[in-house]
Chain length 616, copies 2
């Protein structure tokens, strides 16, 4: 039996059959795949395949916590959502902070797997070890803030809901799943909200009061007593200014996406910084479960053109993708656009990306006023961004097209439009530029969900961090070529662990070292694993996800970057003339990973990782 | 009026209407586009567009000589065939040596444009300034050697024919057009033979005795008297051993394609060398019109498994692509396979490529015995190569699939098969490896007909040659990164001139410098242009062709290399670990060319080159 960290139970709900079961969590599988992303991918691989229609009833939608979720371990208030992505057709996953994961465990479950699809709108009310499938007809159509309130009234004032908005309901392919109501914690990427919508599942509300056991309570308390003050101190700046506190620096080094990835500088950057937010619209901070940093923003815009805004404020990614990418530097407008994304339940990253794509396509004559209902799309116009967010969220007008994501839009438009679509494997780039950090290029090309900075998180080791435990004693050369294969592979394996435990990657900015993570994992689970074993587990999870994608047809040909990122030197800014040497890095990466020429894990590698039986 | 070099007449035949006209050649256009590839592309751009079905009757098939063709200028016995390629969908062109071009001019024409399509098989009999459209029902189905003989009997013993074989008749997409009967001079690339077949045009037989005037006969004679002995001396090795005389060196530096571009060495290379051919099956040499080198091979295999073979012998490209690529080192078998390609009218390069693709696909389980009619495809088996050549030539069995070219085959098979398809823009790689010469990678990626070493011919300047006239005083670094954009752009412009004049690129190996080419051009035409003007003309032609492709939807996204070439280090041989730095080179190249980010000539560039009105 589990010594700590796990509830040992997975809730399995079949919406077609209107029935729910509780599955025992296999300790052997938990030991091999930990939780969150790892166990989620394991279940996904067993429950779906190339024949699965991502928006069909047979696609499982998997919510998974990890052993650290809901414990006292700092910054552990996270959970993972895994499914076959309707946006990319491959493994789709997204994660969120907030309180939902911790509350699910208190309700008695490590995870929820939703299979099938309901004919009529429903929501799940999971509480105290049980579940009810409830009618949601009356809340269908509400935005996520409204729906959260409505469900709260019908359930428990202390419940936490995972919820889709109108975008998910309408199966917009860039729709996410929102949590924590007005605090808007988003599991937004890969179109997971559209999958939830395709099941007519409006929300999963959870509440419980069960304690979460820890194998070595004293040991954990001792470690936290020591580390607590360090985290508070090291995380101070991040807590004070939020993720956007770094945006000015990010712009300076050439890492910020500007004008759909064409420009290397953005004059208006200071107007949308975390510092500016503190001086203007910030009303408070949001702390996820067990967090000691509090980087989440609460904002209010009470008057003026963009009022009212009241609730979660824009993160760095939202400001960069809705803002800088579109040359918009009006903070109140971006707060509004972000709130609209939150309410509709849209991924702010992909939403910003499709808007930037649309503006450039219009500028180049690839979209016309016929497509836009007479609106002249142009750079730097906050009202156009807001209008397009609304059209995407409501799947109307040009939004019907834009909600498909840049890959599908560009394929529909054809020809030159493909040159403007900045994605990998169908997932829009997040707001970090691989021309500023070479390892990012390799990480984007090989990340299992498509373009993603979080599944490698390597660029921070080319910026300021080191990790001696993995052999990175010094900050890596961001414009270098050598060693990137190893850097990216190791960090991807490590991030698989973070995504499975689950624990926030911002611990890296708050003085938490790899050895602490490992220590906490052992104190919580009582498993006593060493670093080599731990990293091998990360490698297993990464390879499991890769193999799922191989089943979907992914190989080397897909491990690439958009032509613009490979060939366009921006000419100005902190990374004016750098281009990522992708083909060299990819060759090194495959070799380091022990994959074959095509980027496919070899039979020997699968054997070594104990993955053989999952792919027979 | 033309002072020399040109006949001033283009024969225009409409096979649908069964009528022929003679068009005056515009001196202004000849001055701007010279002839061959340049004028051919000009006409193609006017006569076709994105709506043109490459195998429909509206696709023009254009045969063009240049001002030097048929004159005493050494190695000038060449002509160009231009059409919209059914293999690639973009500009298709191929050129051949031999006597056809020279004879066409003696018959009174600089070129023949074939439009429309005949209902029944026909051939054209062009002689002494006139043309007859003749029934070809009785020769339809004959191979090119047989058809040449049959037409000769019906026309003139001294006629020269451009002719398709069964492959072209059956619209095999890798079919070429053969010339000079058993001497088998091939305009083979881009599926030009399939276009001829789609018009039910079996052959164009030409004969005439008109002299070709030269503006400054005395000047030309004087220059040739001086250069003749130099060419004979410098070209001696090439004449003695043929193009395959270099194959051992080519293998040594890692430039030879082995096992579908996977291996870096080929043990059997000496068995298929030009030297070995001299010692064994060589019976004589073939000189194209006005040639002083005679690199063409005549061979005979009178007995044994692969007899009879009698006629043109295999060139380097045929030995490398049918042989080394498939691990076949049996010279007699390769002579047989080459003769079969010649008789069927197949491109030996693309034929070797699709066979290598098929063997690898079979080995990896992507093709099965069901596809091969029970035959186990394997490396190094000459009989399998020969069998597949026959199936492709006759469009039967597996050959029906293979005749589509590697791009289409891989798309049909899907998934991993795309990783094995070594092409650019649908044209199979010729037998030089971009991992051995970086500039080749850029040249392949940007050549206007798809992967081609001849339209840049840059690798010879990274091997042994210099060209001080263009600023290349030293042999370039084949593994270098800097300067490749300029090298490739300048050489592509120059090769446009060679392909338009027309003159053989092997003059470069025979002591002929750029200044001689320019001198002869001026002596023949009397136009007195300088080097700057001359090179600008080459740039105009290159940009004209690029713009035609832009009309077809080509942009930066298509200027790429197959994943295998970008990422697979072969680990052994003379270029064991090099990978072409394509994205860097491409960025430099676009900048040097004055193209925009998407690889599209700017409005200013078109204006500068006088191309604006062609693209309005």
């Amino acid at each position: 039996m589990f010594k700590g960290g796990y509830k040992g139970k997975i809730l399995f709900v079949d919406l077609s059959k209107k029935e729910a079961k509780v599955h025992e969590l296999s300790e052997e599988e938990a030991y091999k795949y930990i939780g969150g992303s790892g166990l989620g991918a394991l279940y996904l691989n067993r429950l779906s395949g190339p024949e699965t229609d991502p928006l069909g009833s047979d696609n499982p939608l998997i919510f998974m916590t990890g052993p650290l979720t809901g414990t006292k371990v700092p910054l552990s208030g996270r959970h993972q959502v895994i499914t076959r992505s309707p946006l990319t057709g491959i493994l789709g996953e997204a994660d969120a902070g907030g309180y939902w994961g911790a509350m699910l465990k208190r309700a008695g479950f490590d995870g929820v797997i939703v299979a099938g699809a309901s004919e009529k709108p429903v929501y799940l009310w999971v509480h105290d070890g049980s579940v009810e499938i409830r009618d949601a007809s009356h809340i269908w159509g509400l935005d996520t803030y409204e729906a959260d309130e409505a469900i709260r009234k019908e359930t428990d004032s202390k419940m936490v809901a995972a919820c889709i908005g109108p975008a998910g309901e309408k199966r917009v392919l860039i729709a996410g799943i929102m949590h924590d109501g007005r605090d808007a914690r988003a599991a937004a990427r890969c179109g997971v909200g559209a999958v939830m919508g395709s099941k007519s599942l409006k929300a999963i509300a959870v509440y419980g009061e069960e304690p979460i056991s820890v194998a070595d309570e004293d040991g954990l308390n001792k470690s936290l007593k020591e580390m607590g003050p360090i985290i508070v101190k090291e995380g101070k700046g991040l807590g004070k200014y939020g993720t956007a506190g770094a945006i000015v620096t990010i712009e300076k080094v050439g890492d910020l996406p500007v004008k759909n990835w064409v420009e290397g500088k953005f004059e208006g950057v200071e107007k949308i910084s975390g510092q500016k937010m503190v001086e203007s619209i910030l009303t408070g901070r949001f702390y996820c479960a067990s967090c000691l940093v509090g980087c989440g923003r609460k904002v209010r815009v009470a008057s003026g053109r963009y009022a009212p805004v009241d609730g979660a404020g824009p993160e760095y990614e939202s400001l960069a993708m809705l803002g800088a990418l579109n040359l918009v530097d009006n903070l109140e407008a971006l707060a509004k656009a972000t709130e609209l994304c939150n309410r509709y339940g849209l991924d702010t990253i992909s939403t910003g990306a499709v808007i930037g794509f649309a503006i450039e396509a219009f500028e180049r004559g690839l979209l016309t006023e016929e497509d836009t209902n007479g609106v002249k799309l142009k750079w730097g116009d906050p009202d156009i961004v807001i209008r397009l967010v609304e059209e995407i969220g409501e799947a109307k007008g040009l939004g019907r097209l834009l909600g498909l994501g840049v890959k599908r839009i560009s394929e529909k438009l054809g020809g030159l439009a493909c040159e403007l679509a900045i994605h990998v494997k169908g997932l829009e780039f997040p707001a970090h530029d691989p021309r500023a950090y070479n390892s990012l290029g390799l990480a984007y090309a090989t990340s299992n969900r498509g373009a993603c900075h979080l599944q490698g998180f390597t660029h921070v080791f080319e910026r300021s961090l080191t990790m001696p435990d993995l052999g990175f004693d010094e900050v890596q050369d961001r414009f270098g070529i050598e060693g990137k294969g190893e850097l990216v592979a190791k960090l991807q394996d490590l991030m698989c662990l973070y995504d499975s435990l689950k624990i926030c990657k911002f611990t890296l900015f708050a003085g938490v070292k790899l050895r602490h993570i490992l220590q906490w994992f052992n104190l919580v689970t009582g498993w006593g694993v060493d670093l080599v074993h731990f990293m091998k587990t990360g490698e297993r999870i990464f390879n499991l996800k890769r193999m799922y994608n191989v089943r979907m047809g992914i190989s080397r040909k897909d491990d690439t970057l958009p032509p613009r990122i490979l060939t366009l030197k921006r000419g100005v800014g902190g990374a004016a003339d750098n281009l990522p040497p992708l083909n060299y890095m990819l060759a090194d990466y495959y070799r380091y990973r022990g994959w074959d020429e095509f980027g496919i894990p070899t039979v020997e590698k699968l054997e070594e990782l104990g993955l053989t039986k999952e792919f027979q």
